[in-house]
């Protein structure tokens, strides 16, 4: 079953690098795939897995490096070419055409010699392929309404029909039930026996160890290790994934003393999204929310702010039980939410800094006859511009013209202006440069010292560890634990986020041990 070294590799990626603006997404990584192997690729969010997939499928071009297929160097210019070369990808959300029949979905990308569709043949072959996979579907019916698992089966059938040699599966199990995962694994096994090379990406370590032949770990865009499954332990894999040092760049001032409880949440649930979330936030405290993408941390934030209210559970704010059904209600209580997506949810890009900051509280700036008092608005904006060091020539500048970091500060200003008691920050430093990041961290510290309770959702593990007084870890909608600052280590949090065994006590930091 294991890829024997005597077999020639199907696909080799040599010294691939890729840069997006300020981010080095991939830095000199190499990966080799053999026919008939399931090769797991592990890494934290932002480790470069997605970028590598996009290069393999022709969506991105590498800045440097070489791709070798069957011993021949190739260029993968676009999706069509990747398909011709026999490389296909299946994503967490399958890409189906709801209006086309199952059979058509399987054969849509095919290059046929004639321009005619041979319906009889398509239906027959689709049935044959699904039959071989032991999947029972009526191939003549539209794909609309298929379950995710069935959609994935269709995608796998599509890959088989294209005689794919390399199949990339990007978190295919993320939305599947345990039973469906089992079915999927049977399909994967069938593919492996047919000699397909499978690159399997998953955050669930148990799955990786159940199915993979070899395991490669990426971290921060770099290759860390590639080992046979028999030579890897879950602990070792986690160490490789997180093993970096935290600089002293997070100048956290720990909460001098924990203030009184500000928000108390018990058993908060939303069907199919998250369940049984319980925690407290005290005045002047930063509660970090850690977890992997898809852990549903943002959904908890949205529920607390009333955008997507929870179904059940108790919320006590400042000692009073309350239900939060809308953002207006949340704002009246003194809750502010700085969203993850600055562009779509947070800011009005074509409008000025001033207009953005005063938007939630325009009533306050209305003078006689409801006309807006521009002067008062500008004063507010100027004050925040200085306080938060927003770098812009003046407050009339369009927000869309600012850098990411400064946009983030405008967002913060907008919500600080509502004088919140509880501030929910969702990925406050995603996509902004290192300098601006430090400034934002500084602001968060200062706000906590003023007695504001802060919930900070972040996928940046060092940030969570560096900034939080306590860390709540979520995994697939469930609360995996709350760690005090003293107990929170990268290994323990990662283990909780992935669902591995949590090391007992603060384990010694893996100081570059994993650096292969």
């Amino acid at each position: 079953m294991l890829a024997s070294p005597d077999k020639a590799p199907v696909l080799e990626m040599h010294h691939i690098s890729k840069r997006f603006d300020a981010t080095q997404a991939l830095d000199d990584v190499s990966l080799t795939l053999y026919p008939g192997e399931v090769h797991a690729l592990l890494g934290e969010n932002g480790a470069g897995k997605s970028t590598l997939i996009k290069i393999m499928t022709g969506i991105h071009q590498p800045d440097a490096g070489e791709i070798v297929l069957d011993g021949q160097p190739v260029q993968i210019a676009n999706a069509m070419q990747a398909q011709r070369l026999g490389i296909a990808a299946i994503y967490q959300e399958p890409m189906i055409f709801p209006d086309l029949s199952v059979a058509e979905n399987i054969f849509i990308g095919h290059a046929e010699r004639t321009p005619f569709v041979n319906w009889g043949r398509i239906v027959r072959e689709a049935e044959a392929i699904l039959g071989r996979l032991d999947v029972k579907l009526d191939v003549r019916m539209p794909a609309r309404g298929l379950t995710l698992a069935a959609q994935q089966a269709v995608e796998i059938a599509k890959a088989i029909s294209l005689q794919v040699r390399v199949l990339i599966m990007d978190e295919p199990t993320a939305s599947l039930s345990a039973h469906e995962v089992e079915q999927l694994f049977r399909l994967v096994d069938a593919l492996r026996r047919q000699g397909v090379a499978i690159l399997f990406i998953s955050h669930r370590l148990d799955e990786v160890f159940a199915i993979a032949d070899r395991v490669t770990v990426f971290r921060d865009g770099r290759w860390i290790s590639t080992r046979l499954r028999s030579e890897v332990t879950p602990e070792g894999a986690i160490r490789d994934m997180v093993g970096r040092e935290i600089g002293d760049f997070f100048a956290k001032t720990p909460a001098a003393q924990r203030g009184e409880s500000l928000l108390s949440v018990r058993g908060l649930s939303k069907r199919g999204v998250f369940s049984d979330i319980s925690f407290d936030v005290h005045r002047g405290e930063v509660l970090g929310f850690a977890g992997l993408v898809g852990a549903r941390r943002t959904d908890v934030g949205l529920a607390l702010f009333g955008i997507e209210p929870a179904d059940s559970g108790e919320i006590v704010f400042e000692g009073r039980p309350c239900t939060i059904r809308s953002p207006e209600q949340a704002m009246r209580l003194g809750i502010a939410y700085v969203s993850e997506d600055r562009r779509q949810l947070g800011l009005s890009l074509p409008q000025s800094i001033t207009a953005n900051i005063t938007l939630p509280l325009l009533r306050r700036y209305a003078a006689a006859f409801g006309l807006l008092d521009f002067k008062a608005e500008e004063q507010t904006a100027e004050r925040y511009k200085q306080q938060l060091a927003i770098r812009a020539p003046n407050v009339q500048v369009e927000v869309g013209k600012l850098s990411g970091g400064n946009q983030q500060k405008v967002m913060l200003a907008k919500w600080l202006n509502t004088a919140p008691k509880l501030l929910i920050l969702d990925e406050p430093t995603r996509g902004i440069d290192v300098g601006a990041k430090a400034e934002v961290h500084h602001i968060i510290n200062a706000l906590a010292q003023q007695g504001i309770g802060i919930i900070m959702i972040s996928s940046d593990l060092p940030e969570v560890l560096g900034m939080s007084d306590r860390v709540l870890v979520m995994r697939e909608g469930r609360q995996m634990g709350v760690f005090d600052r003293a107990q929170a280590t990268q290994e323990r949090i990662m283990a909780a986020a992935i669902g591995g065994a949590i090391p007992d006590s603060p384990a010694p930091r893996a100081d570059g041990e994993g650096m292969a």
Binding site: I96, D99, L100
Partner: protein, 343 residues
């Protein structure tokens, strides 16, 4: 019930319903208007449907890809006027040349739309709203506000609208109507049996997945616009043949008529589903109502447009609501219409 649900799919019910509605409308007006049920009514309706149906076929191609072409009315007018002028100047031009010229002109204008939408990445509604005005302005400028008159046209063209294909009892099937039906059938076959047709559905159904599947989406969208323009050009020739007298406002409003026909005919305005037969039936129903209401003195001229508007709203609303209901009824009968596992 089960027998019905097994025999047909909810999507096909749409077309059957339309056909039934057309029969109901005909029966209703026959009871209301003296001498309505006659060969003359049939000719009047088919002569007008023939033109709009050809435009609607092109519009369907574009709408299937999640786009829209609002410039078709201007293309019809342009092609009718330009070809009319050529024929008036030189009566010896061959019919084949005239038709090819009309189609070629339309295709050229469609290609401009398509290039801007597919390769320029400008939203179709903006591109074609712009070219709607531009094509019309060029026509007005070129014409110097002169009119093509019937008398100047060659005899074969004047005879064309009255040329019969076949006669069934009292009903004359005119050549032009036959041509329109032929166009509808050909493109229906294209949608079902050509890869090009299936790819139109795929792009409208899930554009991102279409790109990921390696389909040449830009080229396909471009082709849809070229074909739509070409068909509008052909409709322009038919317009010229039918009316003879062509002013600079010829074809105005056809963009909306064609969109209405397509939507009433069950083509999803967000792309991905619909058929040529449906669009043809939609065009027929709208035209039939329009022609009948004119003769039905109980409804004032002003209310006529409102009634047609109501019909369009009903069609769109029913698309979302009724189809889902139907799918549920079908599902209750245990017939899988959504590709659920049939274990």
């Amino acid at each position: 019930m089960k027998a019905i649900t097994r025999a047909i799919r909810p999507e096909q019910l749409r077309e059957i319903t339309l056909a039934a509605l057309i029969v109901v409308v005909v029966l209703f007006f026959s009871s209301q208007i003296q001498g309505y049920f006659s060969g003359r009514t049939f000719n009047r309706v088919t002569a007008s449907v023939a033109i709009i149906a050809v435009v609607a076929v092109g519009q369907t191609l574009v709408v299937l890809t999640r786009n829209i072409d609002l410039s078709v009315g201007s293309i019809v007018g342009f092609s009718a006027y330009f070809v009319g002028t050529q024929l008036a100047n030189d009566n010896t031009l061959s019919p084949a040349f005239a038709i090819a010229l009309a189609i070629g002109l339309g295709a050229l204008m469609g290609a401009i739309n398509g290039a801007l939408v597919a390769y320029g990445r400008v939203p179709a509604i903006i591109v074609t709203l712009g070219t709607l005005a531009i094509y019309r302005t060029i026509l007005v400028d070129m014409s110097g506000a002169k009119t093509v008159v019937v008398d100047a046209l060659p005899q074969w063209l004047k005879d064309l609208p009255r040329t019969n294909l076949i006669q069934i009892g009292e009903l004359d099937i005119r050549l032009m109507f036959g041509l329109a039906v032929f166009v509808v059938l050909v493109f229906q076959l294209v949608l079902v049996y050509l890869r090009f047709g299936r790819r139109l559905y795929a792009i409208g159904s899930n554009p991102e997945a279409a790109r990921n599947a390696g389909l040449p989406t830009q080229r396909i969208v471009f082709s849809a616009f070229v074909l739509c323009g070409a068909l509008a050009g052909l409709a322009g020739f038919m317009f010229l043949a039918r009316f003879g007298t062509i002013t600079v406002v010829a074809g105005q409003g056809m963009e909306l008529q064609s969109v209405a026909a397509v939507v009433v005919g069950g083509v999803n305005i967000f792309g991905g589903s619909g058929s040529m037969i449906g669009a043809f039936l939609g065009a027929t129903l709208i035209d039939l109502l329009e022609q009948s209401l004119i003769r039905w003195l109980r409804v004032s001229e002003f209310w006529r447009d409102a009634l047609l508007g109501l019909l369009i709203l009903l069609a769109v609303a029913s698309d979302a609501v009724i189809l889902n209901r139907l799918r549920r009824i079908w599902a209750q009968d245990g017939v899988s219409v959504q590709g659920k596992p049939v274990e």
